[in-house]
């Protein structure tokens, strides 16, 4: 305890650029999370629709794809893509990334990380979306068809607006998980917050003040707690407001995200 609380062991936080160096690394994690969740949402919707397709072959293939990718460890996927992607793909990525993209995205390494994060999370989100859509009474889709809407129209105007609303809390909690999972890309040598933490502890980077591993990673952990706690509070507030506004308790998709969201109370 005295080791933990000894002010000498916290001095690193206020010397040199240590704190700024780590917080900037943390922002890289957030950027990776945001990019991944956006792509994963699009891909996840496509997978969910494919899985709900009336074409047997399409739905079986999509189902197999989703089940495989959501049951493999994410770290496994990241490591695999980092090792297996041909160098030409990484080169192609490096030359096609726009110059205004954040610095962390300029390296070809990030391609493997993004592929792992996106494939894994799109599979998880696809299950959440499918459950959201399936939880609607059948009559909704049938009524839309009876009104003469095409399949695409009924999706756009009837099914998706209701189904997707039911998956908001599950998606937010998946985003929190994804946020934490971005630390895994440190394993394939992307200098995000974990790597930066190690740099700070290993070499007295900015000054000759010793930065103990324990204290540096407690600080990094706190950054995640603050952001993720805020996110889950925000999602809870939104849901409560919605419940008040509509006066009903909408049925929610539950249990399909990685780690199940807390009930709003």
């Amino acid at each position: 305890m005295s080791y933990l609380l000894d002010p000498d062991n916290w001095e690193w936080l206020f010397t040199g650029n240590n704190a700024r160096f780590i917080v900037e690394g943390f922002l890289i994690n957030l950027e990776i999370a945001v990019v991944s969740i956006l792509v994963a949402l699009v891909l996840g919707l496509a997978l969910a629709l494919a899985r709900l397709s009336r074409n047997r072959v399409v739905s079986t293939v999509a189902g197999l794809w989703v089940d495989v990718f959501r049951n493999l460890p994410l770290i496994f996927l990241i490591l695999y893509f980092a090792l297996a992607l041909p160098a030409s793909w990484k080169k192609a990525w490096e030359s096609s990334v726009p110059g205004w993209a954040p610095e962390a995205f300029q390296s070809g390494l990030v391609l493997g990380a993004l592929m792992g994060l996106v494939l894994y999370n799109s599979a998880v989100l696809a299950e959440i979306m499918r459950a959201g859509i399936r939880s609607l009474p059948r009559g909704q889709g049938e009524a839309a068809a009876a009104l003469g809407m095409t399949y695409v129209q009924s999706l756009r105007h009837v099914v998706l607006p209701q189904g997707l609303r039911r998956m908001v809390p599950a998606t937010v909690s998946q985003l929190i998980t994804l946020n934490k999972d971005t630390t895994l890309v440190s394993i394939i040598a992307i200098t995000e917050v974990m790597r930066r933490g190690r740099i700070v502890t290993s070499s007295n980077f900015f000054s000759d003040v010793q930065a103990p591993v324990l204290h540096v990673f407690i600080f990094i952990g706190l950054l995640f707690v603050v952001v993720n706690f805020t996110l889950s509070r925000l999602s809870r507030r939104l849901e409560l407001r919605e419940r008040r506004r509509t006066g009903t308790r909408l049925q929610r998709v539950r249990g399909l995200e990685d780690q199940i969201a807390a009930e709003p109370t």
Partner: protein, 221 residues
């Protein structure tokens, strides 16, 4: 290609199988820790004292929002540098167990709350003691609602156990062994294929077991 696939497995069967069992052991030990600590934290969260409730709440919010990798760094490298001689096994299973305990606590708490207050009042007014009410009315029903969240937590745990092996802890679990085979043979696809089979076997087995349990304890209304 399929031949190379089989060759990699038969040449490195001992690596893959020992890695598989290390993963299984990691998950079993962490599960035990997660259930024990999770039950304690859930008890704190429904305790009559607001201070205890708050304590449970802080535990849940901290361990649920912090990345597992950070916990691993803190518990292994961090504590070692601080002078505490902690082994990779202890640090790995404790991190995964304590991390998952936060989710277990939430699942148990919502399971207990899923039993209506009216039932508890009814059973108390029928002359059941508090202990009897808990044992005969609340827990059997709570158990049913808790099966499926605990199942998905177990699956998440299997997947998260892979983080222990490849991060700084030198634990030769399935993914780690696949890496070792890969670095020796340079047959990335083949080595990772068999690791994937191992993980899918585990998650598949748990999925089936949960489905079975759910069917057996189904609530018919």
């Amino acid at each position: 290609m399929p031949l190379a696939l089989i060759d990699v497995l038969s040449d490195h069967l001992s690596e893959f199988s020992s890695g598989f069992w290390v993963t299984v052991r990691l998950v079993v030990v962490s599960f035990a820790i997660a259930m024990t600590v999770g039950t304690l934290v859930a008890a704190l969260r429904i305790a009559p004292s607001p201070w205890l409730q708050r304590l449970g709440g802080v535990y849940v919010e901290v361990f649920r929002n912090v990345p597992l990798l950070v916990l691993l760094f803190i518990s292994f490298a961090g504590l070692r540098r601080g002078g505490l001689d902690i082994s990779a096994w202890v640090a790995g299973t404790a991190s995964l167990g304590l991390y998952t305990a936060a989710y277990v606590a939430e699942a148990l708490r919502s399971g207990v709350f899923s039993v209506g207050k009216g039932q508890i009042e009814a059973s108390l007014s029928l002359g059941f003691t508090y202990g009897q009410t808990l044992r005969r009315i609340v827990l059997p029903q709570a158990f049913r609602t808790v099966i499926s969240p605990l199942g998905s937590l177990t699956i998440a745990m299997i997947k998260n156990s892979a983080i222990i092996g490849v991060s700084l802890l030198a634990l030769p679990d399935l993914l780690k062994q696949a890496r070792i085979v890969q670095s020796r043979t340079f047959q990335t696809d083949e080595a990772f294929f068999w690791a994937a089979v191992g993980y899918l076997l585990l998650t598949g087995a748990v999925t089936l077991a949960i489905r079975n349990l759910e069917r057996r304890f189904e609530i018919r209304r």
